[in-house]
Chain length 241, copies 2
Amino acid sequence: MTSPLDSIRIVLVATSHAGNIGAAARAMLTMGVTRLLLVDPLRFPHADAVARASGANAVLDRAQVVGTLDEAIAGCALALGLSARPREFAGRVLPIRAAAETAIAHADRGDVALVFGTEMSGLSNDQLARCGVVATIPTNPAYGSLNLAAAVQVACYELRVALTGDRVWQAPRFAPATTDEIAALDAHAERTLVDLRFLNPRLPRRLMPRLRRLFARAGLEKEEVNILRGILARIDETMRR
Amino acid sequence: MTSPLDSIRIVLVATSHAGNIGAAARAMLTMGVTRLLLVDPLRFPHADAVARASGANAVLDRAQVVGTLDEAIAGCALALGLSARPREFAGRVLPIRAAAETAIAHADRGDVALVFGTEMSGLSNDQLARCGVVATIPTNPAYGSLNLAAAVQVACYELRVALTGDRVWQAPRFAPATTDEIAALDAHAERTLVDLRFLNPRLPRRLMPRLRRLFARAGLEKEEVNILRGILARIDETMRR
């Protein structure tokens, strides 16, 4: 089964720290992105990369090492260059969310490269000019220094959300209580509260409306109504003793 | 100047690796989140934390170490617990994007905690039950193991985007060419192409419409029109020699 994420190439240019390559591989795989290209890395393969990949070795093992950026983006339908800092001659600059949507939109026309520069200074102006779109991650203006793998994580997260949306696991749904079960609970609670002399039927104030509002907002389940009525029944029995 | 991000507490529970604490501090500061609370960390303070914080020492220096999760979330208007794995008794489960919007929406009513569990197994069910909302990051179903600091990075990124949107730097805009300047360029290009015998005026095909379409799509600037007309003029001169 192929996914548009299979058309995505993550290109890391002249990475200094092998650990960052491993952490980037892990970040990619958590989002289902698996194709890693390394342009002239300082040290690779390296034990630090394996240590930080933490199980994403399949991505590291398949990583391709190439000599130039042009080789890494050859044949791509689109290359997006990541840049934190403003550049005077940048063309189209997109926030990473829109950039990821653009990447996914192009993925059926061929490979799409996301290109990341060095830890110290990012991509050069010449390297960035090889990319049709500049992508940038919104950051704190006073401290915009994302770790390389952290930037890869955010970018791949946005690619995944752009492709599949952000549906996530949900806790299992249990059977909801019916309206008559809830009405019976309300009535039971009212009787018990009167018996407890917590509720004065001649001066009821807003107690029952508030409880009903709380029950409604909670979206009670059948089992929860049973638990609450069990508690009320036990209070009733205790008072009768 | 206070920001709703100042109401955000990032709570890391029983973190094993001090390096992850430093990387989390860096991830936070890149997004303008500065309040870090550590519940019973295995090793802190620690040189690994400082090394990975990479300049975000202000966040580490201000980090509070507490003994229990309850202390860390005391007084919060809302606590959100991060969980990758499905839990049977979870209440409201939100993808991190909606969770971040909820967090920002609550930030004017008091502090809001985002709670992260251990590297190995996340939060326990009891710890998660202390949180009013479960937040989860969409991941690859086959490999959902985000590094702790990577999860903090994605969460803080979504907090920042929820607060400030994803406006990013743009390259400076230069003066756009006027319609008559573009029309003059079209006319000049057409003359030169005829002179070059690249364009046959009796059989023009779709050459000029295609060039006009390209120029229109590019959104030509004044200076670019001048450059293109300069090239055309040089071609004209060369042919006259």
